[in-house]
């Protein structure tokens, strides 16, 4: 070992010259693009959030550093508090609970079924996930509309039609997002369930465990790492949801479905308060950064 080490070091040193410039050359395009269009705007978020920049008026030409004013305003702003609450509700019910429970239910029910049947159901669920988000919004706009399919069914059953997007806006966007996102969780759980060794489940059955006991004591603990990873990934995905809600309800009626990205958009591009809009997006970014760091810890990848 000792004899080999200096040799290896020497060889590396020799390579260091030509290798390094080639490495730099190859990495350069990605660095330039990431730096200009991704890292700089991310870092600028932290700066812009402390300015009174706006899209029109005097502050458009020369914005000033205003310290924590945006953040003080933010915490006093009932609309901001509203959108934090809506974001949390939307995250928990549409992603953490909705998509995961639905995805797990489908995956576990599919386990061991007829493969033709599996692929038909799987394809239908995945279709909602593959379809572009704006089309999903259109499809749900039609489904939940006053004269949409859901109300037609309800009327056929002799019940009164409901203006879903006005009466239950939050439930509507949550259901639409579950429909759109379930496929991801389903696929994660399918592959995780495939990794659970048959022998473990069989020996539990031999020892007299019921189906439910087997599920709670064996299957779920064994796929727990995937559940955790999946939960963080879909949280991150759902955190940035804009299109689906913006096209379905526009954040309304009132601000009943105005999650943070929608409120950020409204402040920055409708009310022209870019500085304040950036302060809101910073809060979104911070949640994303924390979730991202947790994700890296949980994943424990070897690089």
């Amino acid at each position: 070992m000792d004899a080999l080490e200096p040799q290896a070091a020497k060889r590396r040193k020799k390579q260091a010259g030509p290798t390094n410039w080639r490495a730099i050359l190859f990495l350069m395009p990605s660095w330039v693009l990431l730096l200009i269009f991704f890292f700089v705007p991310t870092i600028l978020t932290f700066y812009f959030a402390f300015t009174n920049m706006s899209l029109t008026g005097i502050n458009a030409a020369q914005s000033q550093f205003i310290g924590f004013t945006n953040f003080v305003n933010m915490f006093d702003d009932p609309n901001f508090r509203n959108s934090v609450v809506k974001t949390v509700i939307f995250l928990i019910f549409s992603a953490v609970i909705g998509q995961q429970v639905m995805g797990f239910l489908i995956a576990i029910l599919m386990n061991g079924r007829n493969s033709g049947f599996r692929s038909v159901i799987g394809s239908i669920v995945i279709a909602g996930w593959v379809t572009p988000e704006i089309v999903c919004a259109f499809v749900w706009f039609a489904f939940l509309n006053d004269s949409g399919t859901l109300n037609t069914v309800i009327e056929a059953l002799g019940l009164k039609p409901v203006a879903w997007l006005y009466t239950f806006p939050m439930v509507s966007v949550i259901v639409a997002n579950i429909w759109r996102g379930t496929a991801f969780s389903m696929m994660v759980f399918q592959s995780a369930l495939g990794d659970v060794p048959r022998e473990v489940e069989e020996s539990a059955m031999m020892d007299g465990a019921s189906g439910f006991q087997k599920l709670v004591r064996i299957t779920i603990p064994m796929i727990l790492p995937s559940v955790l990873t999946n939960m963080i990934l879909i949280t991150l995905q759902t955190l940035g949801t804009f299109t689906l809600i913006y096209a379905l309800t526009g954040g309304g009626p009132g601000n009943s479905t105005e999650i943070l990205p929608i409120y950020m958009y409204r402040q920055a591009f409708v009310n022209y308060q870019l500085g304040y809009g950036t302060a809101i997006s910073l809060s979104l970014l911070v949640i994303g950064i924390v979730a991202s760091l947790i994700y890296m810890r949980v994943l424990k990848v070897k690089i």
Partner: protein, 291 residues
């Protein structure tokens, strides 16, 4: 006696047991069929409405089945333009992502670099950040340097936003190409660029396709980025056109909009089917988290 009692009992239970067994067997099929139906109905409306001459927002059997919706969608010049714009964004981004991430992943996969670990951690970390959160500062940035309303710079931004994930995947794909093959070629006098072109690229073609498909689908389906960075009507891609159709006009011809949506969705669906086999590998990260 006891034994006799048992046999009688078990015989009496037999039909009931069979019944329960039947329920256990069929119940998952029933539940799954119901779930499948619920997932299918919203999409089915889209497909039916797109061939219905008098489509409404509710699902119904079409009175007349017609291709008119598709014909008028595809023959409209502004629609054609929005598809072309979408293609420019998606193809341009996918190609750039493949080239740039391919180049970057070579040293990351093959060389001992001092900051490799930190760089890969930064890349992994960036894959998690929601793009939505940086759109306002990106817009300010574009405004300041007069880059807004340009398809070219929108492609560059889309490329940068897809790069972290693409570099991550590309490096992993390249790691699985054995270095011995390259070393053999080097001995024969091949340069790094030659081995990259003639050995690595052909061997990781499935991976390159996967990344390309992922990149294409990502920008083809993207609404927010072009919605914010582009303004001229003649530069808007299909995603934004759909929104404008059903977001602004009071009376919409739903059949035509449905046909437009179907045409717009086809590339994403087809590419997904092509890439499915390779993509499914990416989902077994349960193993990674155990190690």
């Amino acid at each position: 006696m006891a034994q006799g009692g048992n046999t009688v009992k078990s015989q009496a239970w037999k039909p009931k047991k069979l019944n329960r067994f039947m329920i256990y067997r069929t119940l998952p099929y029933i539940i799954l069929s119901l779930i499948g139906l619920l997932f299918l109905i919203p999409l089915l409306w889209l497909l039916i409405a797109s061939v219905d001459g008098g489509a409404t927002l509710s699902m119904k059997l079409p009175e007349t089945i017609t291709a008119d919706n598709y014909i008028s969608t595809l023959s409209s010049e502004s629609n054609q333009r929005s598809f072309v714009n979408g293609l420019i964004l998606a193809v341009g981004q996918a190609l750039l992502v493949i080239i740039v991430s391919g180049l970057a992943s070579y040293p990351l996969s093959r060389y001992q670099l001092r900051y490799k670990r930190s760089f890969m951690y930064l890349i992994l970390f960036s894959t998690g950040l929601p793009i939505t959160a940086v759109m306002v500062p990106v817009y300010q940035f574009f405004l300041y340097f007069q880059l807004q309303d340009s398809l070219f710079f929108t492609v560059l931004f889309l490329t940068a936003s897809a790069l972290p994930y693409a570099i991550w995947m590309m490096k992993n794909f390249m790691d699985s190409v054995p270095i011995e093959l390259e070393e053999a070629a080097w001995v024969d006098g091949a340069s790094v660029l030659t081995t990259l072109r003639l050995i690595i690229v052909p061997l990781m073609l499935p991976g390159i396709f996967t990344i390309g498909i992922y990149a294409f689908a990502g920008s083809w389906g993207n609404f927010l980025v072009p919605f914010i960075l582009l303004q001229s009507p003649d530069k808007l891609p299909a995603a934004v056109s759909i929104y404008q159709y059903f977001g602004q006009n009071g009376v919409v011809q739903y059949g035509k909009l449905a046909a437009f949506s179907v045409v717009y969705s086809i590339p994403a669906v087809v590419l997904y089917i092509i890439g499915q086999r390779h993509m499914s590998k990416g989902f077994s990260f349960g193993g990674a988290s155990k190690g």
